[in-house]
Amino acid sequence: MADEEEDPTFEEENEETGGGAEGGQGKRKRLFSKELRCMMYGFGDDQNPYTESVDILEDLVIEFITEMTHKAMSIGRQGRVQVEDIVFLIRKEPRKFARVKDLLTMNEELKLARKAFDEANYGS
């Protein structure tokens, strides 16, 4: 997966001047095309969003994830990406912060529920 090592911020700038069907990404395969289309519709866009817009979003998301990962690696335990670091990084953004807390809480509750379910089955 050497392609993913390319600097996405550089690619995003290129994309505006490059134009054309390939969206300026060069050889990188689109990772989230299907999911992003659904998300855009869910958040209010048309049922069939423009491919160029989806591509721009994908580049943004990958850049976002890359930035977050690099920052997470530079704080807390160096060189590792941990949940606490992600939570720390987004502490100033209410929506993202609340969402992460929710997800992690729900995940714990589900794990407990599944565990209880399995133990109940073990007896019978």
Binding site: E35, S53, I62, I65, I86, I90, R95, N107
Partner: protein, 199 residues
């Protein structure tokens, strides 16, 4: 939002139960729907245990919160009875809202809830950037944050689109303007410029 009803994290393999038939034929205008949906986002803020209260410079959602919510302090372990009541109230509001949605709104809402980034791809991406393995919780957190990020960009782009007197589908120019605006609000990482709070 709707804690009691979601059966999967990040829309994974879960059925999202929706109230069967919308009884009300009146369509909810888009801005009211946004308000009510943001109220559900804000409910998440009630659970924030140690985060600072947002300042005036933060996003619009925070400023529309009711004052009572701002003063509430949340217990860090378990749920106190008061908190459970708030959850139940929020769940009731959601049920009411969903039961009065039109078919088009229901479709969109269902896709909104179910859409998610594939865990495997996300994990592969993070691990490639990080150069080491990451835990499942990290993937869950990152996927969730990324989805909220997508939502922020799309909503801003829709505002831009509407402001320019155009209609969906969103075009690249809307997306780029949205990104420019979010960057100046400090909601897109990558540019370490100084965020000016008061001027």
């Amino acid at each position: 939002p709707g804690k009691g009803r979601v059966t999967g994290v990040s829309g994974e393999g879960g059925v999202v139960p929706l109230d069967p038939s919308p009884s009300c034929l009146d369509r909810i205008p888009r801005d009211r729907f946004e308000e009510l949906r943001k109220a559900c986002d804000e409910e998440g803020e009630l659970r924030r245990q140690d985060g600072p209260r947002p300042r005036a410079g933060e996003e619009a959602d925070s400023s529309s919160r009711p004052p009572a919510a701002k003063r509430r302090k949340v217990a860090t372990k378990g749920k106190r009875p008061g908190k459970q009541a708030v959850d139940e109230l929020e769940a009731q509001k959601m049920r009411t809202l969903v039961s009065s949605m039109s078919q088009e709104q229901l479709d969109r809402y269902e896709v909104y809830r179910r859409s998610a980034f594939p865990k495997a791809t996300m994990k592969r991406l993070i691990q490639t950037v990080a150069g080491s393995t990451v835990s499942q919780n990290t993937v869950i957190a990152m996927s969730g944050v990324a989805k909220v990020f997508v939502g922020q960009v799309v909503e801003e782009a829709l505002d831009v689109c509407e402001k320019w007197g155009e209609t969906p589908p969103l075009q690249p120019k809307h997306m780029r303007e949205a990104v420019r605006r979010l960057r100046s609000k400090g909601q897109i990482p990558g540019s370490k410029h100084k965020k000016i709070l008061f001027f």
